[in-house]
């Protein structure tokens, strides 16, 4: 910026004002939710704008147990953890095979997996649900885990294939000369080497699974996830905003924490995915 003129610097400084307001608007919803969750119902009715003057945690306690968010939260944790681990295993195996092994129809299988990107849930909504019913997977954790894995898999396989194809094939040859079976090569060589990519995938898929509404709404009506639970709360507690916002805070907390801790990884991982995949 050495040669930047005075006028340009002034223009940039002016631009930073609306950009700053936009940045504040990005922080506002979470502030709004936390602030109102700390008010009593009475306080909220008296003052919908101000800061919570006498903060209380009662709303969190009531949302957690009274509105069954504890159960919904647990369902989301089970589904998210299960699907993220399964996605790591399945995409690492597939990526290893596609990038490092020789076999017929390799290209074809790669295209089959990738092209399913073009089939979002909405496009197969009815037959997908019928498949879940036929396999007795409706309202089960394992059904949701398998669904998340299937719907978030192509991007993960693509990323692992791209990552593994940068590794030299000599690695595998060396391990095989030592007498290792391919499965052992995968587990002892490829999984540890792939960890950087796998961790990034794990974080991105955590966002995807935790935030999902449509798949869970279709298949987990009797065993709600946190997002399905929150959307149901919206109708029930429309006159108890502090309680409702406490639920929102509980549902958003894991993602906000994840973003604060892993911001760099999330941003670079999603950028890589958006640009390449």
């Amino acid at each position: 910026m050495a040669g930047a003129g005075k006028r340009q610097r002034l223009a940039l400084r002016l631009a930073s004002i609306p950009m700053g307001l936009l940045a504040l608007s990005c922080l506002y919803p979470m502030f709004f939710a936390v602030n109102n969750a700390l008010k009593t119902r009475h306080d909220y009715l008296l003052d919908r704008f101000g800061l919570a003057t006498q903060p209380t945690l009662d709303n969190f306690a009531q949302a957690w147990t009274g509105a069954h968010l504890d159960q919904y939260f647990l369902n989301s944790v089970i589904a998210t953890v299960g699907a993220v681990l399964l996605l790591m295993v399945v995409s690492s195996m597939a990526g290893f095979a596609l990038a490092s092994l020789r076999f017929p129809y390799r290209r074809f299988l790669f295209i089959v997996i990738l092209s399913s990107l073009m089939i979002p849930v909405q496009v197969v909504l009815v037959p997908y649900m019928r498949t879940m019913v036929a396999l007795h997977l409706i309202n089960t954790h394992i059904g949701l885990i398998l669904s998340y894995t299937a719907f978030f898999l192509p991007f993960s396989v693509y990323m692992m294939t791209a990552f593994y194809s940068t590794l030299p094939r000599e690695l595998i040859e060396a391990a095989r000369i030592d007498g290792a079976k391919l499965f052992q090569v995968w587990w002892h060589v490829m999984v540890p080497l792939g960890m950087p990519a796998l961790v990034t995938l794990g974080i991105i898929n955590t966002l995807n699974c935790w935030n999902d509404i449509l798949i869970a709404l279709l298949t987990m009506q009797k065993n709600r996830t946190i997002m399905v639970g929150i959307s149901a709360l919206k109708g029930q507690y429309s006159d108890q905003i502090p309680l409702f916002t406490a639920g929102i805070v509980i549902a958003a907390a894991p993602i906000v924490a994840l973003y604060v801790i892993f911001q760099r990884r999330i941003v670079s991982g999603i950028a890589a995915g958006a640009v390449k995949g």
Binding site: M19, R48, A94, L101, F110, I119, L153, P154, A162
Partner: protein, 308 residues
């Protein structure tokens, strides 16, 4: 995109090994490694796609298999006021695509040019992207409700309240503003990645020659960003057609009336509330054809801009 990686991976594989038996064992192992991925994608996505097409040609209900009625469900869609409304709404949504692309581009260029506070903007702009549409929709449903904070603030200024989400005239535009607010961080990220490939010395040279800021933007930076603009346009369009369900579900429930019913929402409603699975399947296939054309465009753009 797809074709590129295949080419890359193909180059990484050396010529045939002398041992044929080992080659066959390797092929068998490879297929085993791929089995879980292929099976999941087949069972939950690819087979359902063909099954759904078959279903769309029948009069099936939730409980009866129905009978073959050919293109009946598709013809019915043409006469269905709900479907027509959803297509009209999708048209309105797609009219907003230029804004969804331009605003993040301008913000990214400003950040790239060193606007004061850029590190803060960069990290904060992405926060709404990681929040679930359920969270965002819930919060805005409170703020924008008739007795919500926005109307409360307007009242203080002496402006009468508006039922933002409850009347047809404002429901869709407001939903679109929220959608663009919650996703613009993604666009900023994509454009920042693209801006890192714009040659800095070219910009610097133009500046030394006395070019004005807008001239540099218009004649150097934006032309250099063309591939990113194309890419962003296509993925924004696909995103608007297939990822607004959560927000609409929480914010407006498709209403009032059909004011915010878009095709993906109508598919869900036809399947569940209206109990017309075969009709829903036909709508799904229509959506698939539209997004399929867009995805094909995306792959073409990406393979043409292979180096970006």
């Amino acid at each position: 995109m797809a074709t590129n990686t295949i080419r890359q991976t193909a180059q990484g594989v050396p010529p045939r090994s002398p041992s044929r038996r080992r080659g066959r064992a390797e092929a068998r192992a490879a297929l085993l490694f791929l089995l879980p991925a292929v099976l999941l994608v087949l069972v939950f996505r690819i087979i359902p796609l063909f099954w759904g097409f078959g279903l769309s040609l029948t009069s099936a209900t939730a409980t009866t298999p129905g009978e073959f009625i050919g293109w009946g469900n598709y013809l019915r869609a043409l006469d269905d006021p709900n479907f027509r409304a959803s297509i009209a709404n999708a048209g309105v949504v797609l009219l907003a695509v230029p804004l969804f692309v331009t605003i993040p581009m301008v913000l990214a260029i400003l950040i790239d040019q060193g606007v004061p506070g850029r590190a803060f903007f960069r990290s904060v702009y992405f926060l709404p992207v990681v929040l679930s549409s359920v969270i965002i929709g819930s919060i805005f449903s409170i703020v924008l409700g008739f007795n919500g904070q926005l109307n409360g603030a307007l009242k203080l200024l002496g402006i009468p309240g508006v039922d933002w989400l409850g009347q047809s005239a404002t429901a869709l535009p407001v939903t679109l503003v929220i959608q663009s607010w919650s996703t613009f961080g993604m666009g900023v990220l994509i454009f920042l990645a693209g801006l890192s490939t714009v040659p800095k010395d070219m910009v610097e040279a133009a500046r030394l020659e006395g070019a004005k800021m807008w001239q540099i933007w218009w004649h150097i930076i934006i032309p250099e960003l063309r591939p990113v603009i194309e890419f962003s346009t296509v993925i924004t369009t696909i995103g608007l057609l297939t990822s607004m369900f959560g927000l609409i579900y929480v914010l407006t429930g498709g209403g009032p009336g059909t004011a915010t019913t878009v095709p993906e929402y109508l598919i869900w409603a036809a399947q569940g509330r209206l109990n017309q699975p075969a009709y829903a399947a036909a709508l799904s296939i229509i959506l698939f054809v539209c997004t399929g054309i867009l995805a094909w465009l995306q792959i073409r753009i990406m393979s043409r801009n292979a180096n970006f």
